[in-house]
């Protein structure tokens, strides 16, 4: 099962209730957190995806298990775009040819629905406590969706003694290469 911050049970509810409930439930999440919506209404898939894009949330994907649909939505951020400050950056092309570690700091659910093959997943929120999983001697390409979280992650790594750290710009939202799913 894909990791999410909150679960919403909308099973057995007919349209419009899955969306009405999702809209309500997502207000309790912090920006960037992931909500899992369990629904049995088949129409909820197209509607949730369309609704999410109109209100600025990120629809990650849907899993089907038996009659139940598990939708994953990441709460959109309303914060203004902040300037990225980490000075060592690489492009998507460069990481394809490089031999460093691709470190994907998006949420586990985002990673599950599509990442670059071989990328290691450590969500931004867990990074500080999992530093020992990383090799200080190796090049690390930090990637997220747009380059914002990876900017912060790269700074965190540099502050902890990692010297060969690069922020990947732009990020997964412009990656056109092969995608691996773990669902």
């Amino acid at each position: 099962m894909i990791q999410a911050n909150h679960q919403l049970d909308a099973k057995g509810l007919a349209c419009p209730m899955p969306i009405v409930k999702t809209k309500k439930a997502i207000t309790d999440l912090e920006d960037g957190q992931v909500l899992e919506v369990q629904a049995t209404d088949k129409g909820s898939k197209a509607d949730l995806a369309a609704w999410a894009s109109t209100v600025g949330h990120q629809y990650l994907g849907t899993l089907e298990e038996g009659d139940v649909l598990y939708h994953y939505i990441r709460k959109g951020s309303n914060e203004p775009e902040v300037e990225k400050t980490f000075e060592h950056t690489v492009s998507l092309d460069e990481i394809e040819s490089g031999d460093g570690l691709i470190l994907d700091v998006r949420e586990a659910a985002e990673y599950a629905f599509g990442h670059i093959q071989g990328a290691k997943s450590i969500p931004m929120g867990e990074l500080e406590s999992r530093l020992e999983e990383l090799d200080k001697e190796k090049e690390i390409y930090v990637i997220c969706r747009t380059g914002k979280r990876s900017d912060l992650a790269a700074q965190l790594l540099a502050n902890n003694g990692f010297t060969k750290v690069y922020n990947v710009l732009p990020g997964m939202n412009e990656w056109n290469g092969k995608i691996t799913k773990e669902i």
């Binding site: 419009p16 969306i19 009405v20 809209k23 088949k42 509607d47 369309a50 609704w51």
Partner: protein
């Protein structure tokens, strides 16, 4: 303000009687673009219900006050919610009971013509899906052609008319909708006919429908003559009824012709399609009235709601019957085809008896427009 509930039958009447209606369709944009309730004088506004959760104030100026407003969604729930919000805002609106799901399943029986000695020919127009089924009635007996899966509609109609269903035909193995033919035959003891060339994979018993088969309905002997007319499928068969009507199945429509690719053999069947349309049909009497198994757009409906046109008119007006060059014809019916109907491969499996989905699953498979034609 009160919220009114309309049935699909009421909406069908609006379509057929050419009346005005303003439809507020609250499904998402993709669904609306793909498929909606068509009416000659209908106006539309498509705003997904999930954009109205905060309130309907923003759309009030876009809704007319001098016209009836019908809120439509997929199954009903969202349209009830939006209709109630509009009602609280002081507007009188209605919602469609059962949503597009019920629209997709509604059949309007319309009399096409009287036949000899009190016989009658009815066309069952499935407005939401563009399917056309037929019932020939004569002296206490009935034959049904290309029945859709709402078998009660046909058996109840026969009961009302006091006739016994004796023969049930499918002109071909359908790919866009689930046939009700086999079920009706099982329920009534009628004979179920299917073209054997389309039935090589079916897992049930049927009576072969082949060229020259002649069935009489009632004592006055209304003739139903089978005419082999391949092209949409390899078994596709037409009927000439009472020497007046040509039931073309999915081979020839009013404003388009059948597509040859739904069973995966477009290249092989183009020649058959051309042969049927450009030779076999040419040999028939030109004053036959063509009754197809589908219509694609609302403009194909006549004033009384039927879909019917004289064969000689179609030879003049139907683009697909007027492509002189064979290579161009081949290109027209094999290149740039419209998207295939929703779940058409599964639907063929159902019609072969290989899978038996429940009613909800069948509804889901049939969602969306039919797409059996090439224009």
């Amino acid at each position: 303000m009160t919220v009114n509930k309309w049935t699909a039958a009421q909406v069908a009447r609006k379509v057929i009687d050419n009346e005005e209606l303003f439809i507020l369709d609250v499904r998402n944009h993709d669904a609306f673009e793909d498929w909606k309730i068509d009416g000659h004088k209908f106006e539309y506004l498509n705003i997904p219900y999930f954009e109205l959760l905060e309130g309907v104030e923003e759309i009030l100026p876009k809704l007319p006050t001098d016209k009836e407003v019908l809120v439509v969604c997929a199954k009903e729930g969202s349209s009830v919610m939006v209709a109630e919000m509009l009602s609280e805002a002081g507007r009188e609106v209605a919602y469609l009971e059962g949503g597009m799901k019920s629209w997709s399943s509604y059949l309007e029986p319309i009399k096409v013509s009287d036949l000899e000695n009190g016989g009658e020919l009815y066309q069952f127009v499935r407005l939401g899906k563009g399917c056309l089924s037929y019932m020939v009635i004569s002296e206490g007996e009935a034959a049904i052609i290309d029945a859709v899966r709402f078998t009660d509609v046909f058996t109840n109609f026969a009961k009302e008319k006091g006739v016994e269903i004796k023969h049930v035909f499918d002109t071909h193995l359908h790919a866009d909708h689930i046939s009700g033919g086999r079920q009706i035959a099982a329920n009534t003891g009628a004979i179920y006919y299917l073209p054997p060339k389309d039935a090589t994979e079916v897992v049930f018993d049927y009576t072969p429908l082949t060229e020259g088969l002649n069935v009489k309905i009632g004592a006055s002997q209304i003739d139903v003559n089978a005419l082999y007319s391949p092209g949409h499928t390899i078994g596709s068969t037409s009927f000439v009824i009472d020497n007046q009507f040509l039931l073309t199945g999915d081979i020839l429509f009013i404003d388009s012709i059948g597509r040859p690719d739904l069973a995966g053999l477009a290249e092989d069947w183009v020649g058959d399609l051309r042969e049927t349309l450009y030779s076999r049909y040419r040999e028939l009497a030109e004053d036959l009235v063509v009754l197809p198994a589908h219509f694609m757009i609302i403009d194909e409906l006549n004033e009384d709601g039927t879909v019917a046109r004289r064969l000689d008119d179609l030879f003049k007006e139907n683009h697909g019957l007027n492509i002189k060059d064979e290579a161009e014809f081949r290109r027209t019916v094999t290149d740039n085809l419209p998207p295939q109907p929703n779940a058409y491969e599964q639907i063929r499996q159902v019609n072969m008896g290989k899978i038996t989905p429940n009613n909800d699953e069948q509804t889901e498979m049939e969602i969306g427009p039919n797409r059996c034609a090439v224009r």
